[in-house]
Amino acid sequence: MIADNLVVDARTGRRTTWGELVQRAVPRPTPTAHVVERSVDALPAVAALKDGGELLVVAAGRLDEALAEELRTAGFDLVAGDEVRAATSPRAAEDGRVWLLTSGSTGRPKRVGHTLGSLSTVTGELAPRTWLCPYSPGTYAWWQVITLGLGVPGQDLVLVDPADLDDWLTPALEHGVTAVSGTPTFWRRTLMRHGAELQKLPLEQVTLGGEPVDQAVLTQLTEAFPDARVSWIYASSEVGASIVVHDGRAGFPVEWLDRDVPGRPRLSVVDGELVITSPHHGTDASGAEMTGAVRTGDAARVEDGRVLVTGRLDRDELNVGGSKVSVGAVRDLLQSHPEVAWAAVRGRKAPLVGTMVVADVVAGPGSDVNADDLTRWAAERLPEYAVPRRIKMLAEIPAKETLKSDV
């Protein structure tokens, strides 16, 4: 069902409805991966799903050449604006299939299959709300908010892009936002940047998801928005929205572990890893249902009667202020510079955005390229959040790094 709710582009103020988007939608007959810079760029493709088609949405900053080739080999045309790179193994679309990308155990993104139905996990009637959606397009959290606006009456959306998060409060006030779902990094940045002004925004619902949620940020939000319900959600592409906690505390009660309740996910901790068997599961890349226990790749531990979910067991994907960055894509870009011999890219803890991209670089023989040159060069080729802001020039490639294929 398409609810004719409003969708507002926070950057331009442009307002439209899902009904209008559906009317204008032009379905593509072949599986399509839409590579988008902005949330609103993906909406026509989402609306076109009403008439079938097979869709994957990926943020431009997340797509490296290896992923692009994987998708084309898997039958996807890559569409970025007017540019189309055709599939190398064309096939017919599986009507209604929606693909999400998640990090596999090897660190390479893998595809998880859903439908608009399996992504829509909200049940029952909801009070009318205007939601701010600050998530990176194509992520599970983004799809959660998008399907809420698409399918649940009275749920309007204001889409703000990760690049515009410094200024989200102004459009939120202008468009009457009453509910905001964001990552803990998003909320930390908001509390630090807009602390005193937040009381102007009469939120009814504050939701956190997409990253580990700690007690400090929950407490700060409860104090900043005393009239709002503060909730955190554990969700992923593979297991859907599996844990929802409304009591303002980090973690979930240990009593929820290993409990079988019809229609609800079964939660376990195995060897320090959160394991979930979920009714909201997706399919794997071959289309097989992931009905069994899924190792989430997230670390979990029990403390004071609560099960705390503390972070990824692997660290191959960076989250810069809510935007996902592929370490490999940035490293590939730096290493494509004609005067760069070697580059290693990693995340470094930083205020406001949580993590920043930093790099170690070795220049080629005879080159005098410096860190500022490379930052400027990268800034012309990468989304702002993916640009390495601190580049350390090394005299030679570290010996231990030459033994690794992916640093």
Binding site: D166, H194, G195, A224, V353, M356, A379, R389, R390
Partner: protein, 83 residues
């Protein structure tokens, strides 16, 4: 532990904007929004300060505040060093 005074932090801030081809205004009341100094720039500045002083900054000590001007940034980064 070494600490940076306000002029030293201001110099680092000028370096951050210089990479983008911009000049930092002399006026501490200049609005960050007007000079295009965004969260990523602030974060980069914090890392530069950390590299200079050889220690991690503790932003939890900063408390709730609004950061709108060059002066707000300088006040914060001078205040939280060593906390």
């Amino acid at each position: 532990m070494e600490t940076l005074d306000r002029p030293a932090v201001r110099k680092l801030m000028a370096e951050v904007v210089a990479v983008q081809g911009k000049t930092l205004p002399d006026d501490d009341t200049a609005k960050l929004a007007d000079i295009g100094f965004r969260s990523l720039d602030f974060s980069e500045l914090a890392l530069r300060v950390e590299d200079e002083i050889g220690d991690e900054l503790n932003f939890e000590a900063a408390g709730l505040r609004s950061i709108e001007t060059i002066g707000d940034v300088l006040d914060l980064l001078v205040e939280i060093q060593g906390q």
